[in-house]
């Protein structure tokens, strides 16, 4: 099945069986290895990508569902100013993420902070829950999220 879609702002197409998982197509077909294929059942959140501005678990999405839609992965997000905000925020807060969850945690934090410019406690919890990895304490992560949000607000003001 030929599937045309926009990947990291570039129109593209792929010829794969319709039932293939989006995670496998992105990793194998496009060599986008920033997303991890870990639990394979939408539990760990390590395969999260942005599908039409919504965060989705790519291991749960059959590839035919992305036809005509826009997909963004961490490789694409790393080229944006939003990524720099997260990078600065995490660096300043001393967030030591493990190699495995770091890309996805960065992507989900950046995207959710686009939605919640000044996140409240519930929204911070939503950001924390997006990836299930035990490598960093919640307190440090919260600090990183809040600093990222401040950096972003400053950037948007200027």
């Amino acid at each position: 099945m030929l599937i045309e879609f926009v990947l990291n702002d570039e129109p593209t197409s792929v010829e794969v069986p319709a039932y293939k998982r989006l995670a496998d197509v992105l990793r194998e077909g496009f060599n986008l290895t920033g997303l991890r294929s870990a639990c394979g059942k939408g539990y760990c959140g390590l395969c999260t990508v942005v599908l039409n501005e919504e965060l989705v678990y790519s291991c749960m999405i059959p590839v035919f569902q992305i036809r005509g839609k826009s997909v963004q992965t961490i490789e694409g997000y790393a080229e944006t100013e939003g990524f720099n905000d997260v990078f600065e925020g995490f660096k300043e807060a001393g967030v030591h993420l493990c190699d495995y969850c770091a890309p996805t945690r960065t992507l989900t934090t950046g995207i959710l902070l686009d939605r919640y410019v000044r996140p409240d406690a519930r929204q911070i919890e939503e950001i924390l829950s997006s990836v299930k990895c035990n490598c960093t304490p919640y307190e440090t992560l919260k600090k990183g999220i809040l600093l990222t949000s401040q950096i972003r607000q400053k950037r948007l003001k200027s």
Binding site: G34, F87, F90, S129, C135, T140
Partner: protein, 682 residues
């Protein structure tokens, strides 16, 4: 960490085994047996295309064995299939989809054999190991007792999910097999790969990622697929990538630990005798059973003053996948029993649990249950007092009991009850077995002519931040810039064998060895010609310190201690449980990095609560407020203590006690759900 590396990490630039590809690479999948408990008679393989290969035990160029403590595990089934999902063979081919399709068509035929006898029957065919701790005269202690109390406790241990998966990539370059994988035990992987492929250990080079928290239950599991991948690469003379899909048969097997206690108490509520019988399912092969069972027996005996003790542990074999060692290698799980018993004894003797503990904890000059002398004052009484003050334990506990006792006199049913519980535990980072496979550890440090310092570890640090910490520490000690210090986690030419990175051994033992070798280099520097090489090796404890056969002596040289208080709220109508607060007091010497230590503790609290509440994960919304107190001693000779297993040992028993108080039911087993409380059973 430098800025570019951090940016690269966040941007997903780090490559894992599953990201590796190369020209002419073939994929491999493990074919597992759907049937079990019988002799393998035949494996029906459909006709394979030309470029595909099905490799069985007899096709391995080397040995089909994994020599682990207490057992030799076959890599692939040779004759007997003992558990569902046991690997039958390795299927290789160029297309993973065709591989999976053909893999699902492979069938096996087995001739049924009798299963392992039930655990209740003392049959040598099923009993892997029996261990016993004996002190004093149990009968005399029981006769002296004014009150005899019994307790039965059960804990079902959850399977810890393992990420990343066991994907392995192997390629051959210049006579060496280069392996990309995840492991906590590089020395074992190298040894096993060399055995299976019949090559020298020097021909195996490992590249691995540090991937956050490592889990002991999976400590050896990457070694089997790694050995098979190297064997396949040596037969095919092509790069091989093994794809390990999640296997349901391997994942969800509930494991039970049962402990039966009989305790004698005198009129003051002091222990006169303590008897315990514990049994645990060791899986099909009983690997590591000796070490795990010894630790279980030790923690089940606790550290309460008692002259007459008999603790007997049995690890029995069943037709389930091998799974030892579990998280913490048995020490935390045993504390559940003894701490539940301690709370029960305190209640029966009408004493506050904190006061009872402080009255009964062994003191300097007393003997441990293993007859070793307590040479230093234990910090536990102060820790218990401190945590009681901070959590207001005594008042809350007394109030909880009062509410439950006067419940019938209340005019209105409260919308919720609260309960509070306490438990203590300890941790030892030394292995109790004298098996070199486990205990070996060495660090080689070389100061080169150019002033660069190279450190060979042969181990995996528990967290990536530990490497940065070590660099800082060495830089300060030797006045060498951090850029000139490099770590080699694994070196093929180095014949040193190191045990697994577990029980906080990387932060305790490796730090000590690094410090020692740096001190030696500092002494020789400017006196001797460069390069200077120094090796620090971990010295096993002598038999006079600890006799692993008769379980006599002082088991741990540098134990760490923990006290935990757990606050629980229970909604009357739905019996929904919430854990709003947890207080932890930890004494583990010097803490190298508070942030990493806190992250470690938080991860263990999550695992402990999963164990208590039958949940796969604890969401941030229900994660309790954590109050962690590190009791660091300012003195110069402070050691670095281990953290792993401390929280897992103390939190479950404190939680169960808090739920007992809140619900008015005697909770004797974990995990626990609201449904269990609604039914009024546990």
């Amino acid at each position: 960490m430098d800025e570019d590396k951090f940016r690269n990490r966040l941007a997903g630039g780090i490559r894992f085994p599953e990201d590796m590809t190369s020209k002419k690479m073939v994929y491999a999948i493990l074919i597992r047996s759907p049937r079990y408990q019988g002799i393998l008679e035949e494996v029906d393989v459909p006709k394979l295309p030309e470029n595909m290969l099905f490799m069985r035990a007899k096709d391995l160029p080397g040995k089909n064995l994994m020599p682990l403590p207490d057992c030799a595990l076959p890599l692939l089934v040779e004759d007997e299939v003992l558990y569902p999902g046991q690997p039958l063979g390795l299927l290789t081919g160029a297309d993973p989809e065709i591989l999976n399709k053909i893999g699902s068509q492979i069938r096996c035929r087995i001739r049924k054999t009798p299963p392992f006898p039930p655990a209740a029957i003392n049959d040598p065919r099923s009993t892997a190991i029996i261990k016993e701790i004996k002190k004093g005269d149990l009968d005399r202690g029981m006769n002296k007792a004014e009150q005899i109390l019994k307790g039965e406790y059960k804990m079902i241990m959850p399977e810890v999910p393992s990420y990343p998966r066991n994907n392995i990539f192997c390629t051959k370059e210049g006579g060496r097999y280069i392996l990309h994988l995840h492991t906590q035990w590089p020395s074992l992987v190298r040894k096993l790969c060399a055995l299976a492929a019949n090559i020298s250990r020097k021909q195996v080079e490992l590249h691995f990622n540090t991937a956050g928290r490592t889990w002991d239950s999976h400590i050896w599991q990457s070694a089997v697929p790694a050995a098979l991948t190297v064997a396949a690469a040596s037969i095919l003379r092509q790069p091989v990538r093994l794809i390990e899909e999640e296997n349901i048969a391997m994942s969800f097997v509930p494991r039970e630990l049962n402990i039966h206690y009989t305790a004698g108490l005198d009129h003051q509520g002091r222990l006169t005798a303590l008897m315990a019988d514990l049994s645990i399912d060791a899986g099909a092969y009983g690997c590591f059973a000796s070490e795990v069972l010894t630790r279980l027996c030790l923690s089940s005996a606790g550290f309460y003053q008692c002259r007459n003790i008999r603790i007997r542990g049995k690890a029995y074999q069943t037709n389930t996948p091998p799974w030892f060692p579990m998280a913490g290698w048995g020490l935390p799980q045993g504390f559940f029993g003894v701490e539940m018993l301690a709370n029960h004894l305190a209640e029966e003797s009408g004493t506050d649990p904190a006061i009872w503990r402080n009255l009964n904890i062994v003191e300097k000059g007393n003997l441990y249950p293993t007859s070793g002398q307590v040479r230093q004052r234990l910090p536990l009484p102060e820790m218990v007092d401190d945590i009681c003050r901070k959590s207001d334990f005594t008042r809350k506990h007394a109030a909880g009991r009062q509410v439950r006792q006067n419940e019938r006199e209340l005019d209105l049913l409260p919308t919720g009850y609260s309960g509070i519980g306490m438990a203590v535990s300890f941790q030892g980072n030394e292995f109790l077995s004298r098996n070199r496979v486990l205990t070996a550890s060495s660090v080689t440090t070389t100061l080169h002519k150019e002033g660069n310092l190279e450190i060979i570890l042969n181990a995996v640090p528990a967290t990536p931040s530990l490497l940065a910490l070590w660099k800082k520490r060495i830089s300060k000690r030797l006045s060498i810039p951090e850029e000139q210090i490099s770590f080699i986690l694994d070196k093929p030419d180095d014949q040193a064998f190191s045990g697994p990175s577990t029980l906080s051994r990387s932060s305790t033992i490796l730090t000590r060895l690094i410090d020692q070798s740096c001190d030696l280099i500092q002494k020789k520097r400017f006196r001797e010609a460069l390069p200077i090489t120094e090796t620090g090796s971990f010295r096993r404890r002598t038999k006079t310190d600890w006799d692993e056969e008769s379980l006599i002596g002082t088991p741990f040289g540098t134990p760490s201690f923990a006290a935990a208080v757990v606050d629980v709220q229970l909604e009357t109508a739905t019996m929904e449980l919430r854990v709003p607060k947890i207080w932890l007091s930890l004494n583990c010497g010097i803490i190298l990095d508070k942030s990493s230590a806190r992250s470690f503790i938080e991860a263990e609290v999550r695992l402990a609560l999963c164990q208590c509440l039958k949940k796969q994960a604890i969401k941030p919304s229900i994660f309790p407020e954590l109050h962690i107190e590190f009791n660091e001693n300012e003195s110069k000779n402070q050691r670095i203590g281990g953290l792993e297993g401390l929280v897992l040992g103390a939190v479950p028993a404190a939680f169960a006690q808090a739920v007992s108080l809140a619900s008015g039911l005697q909770i004797n087993s974990l995990p626990l759900e609201s449904g269990d409380l609604l039914r009024g059973v546990n």
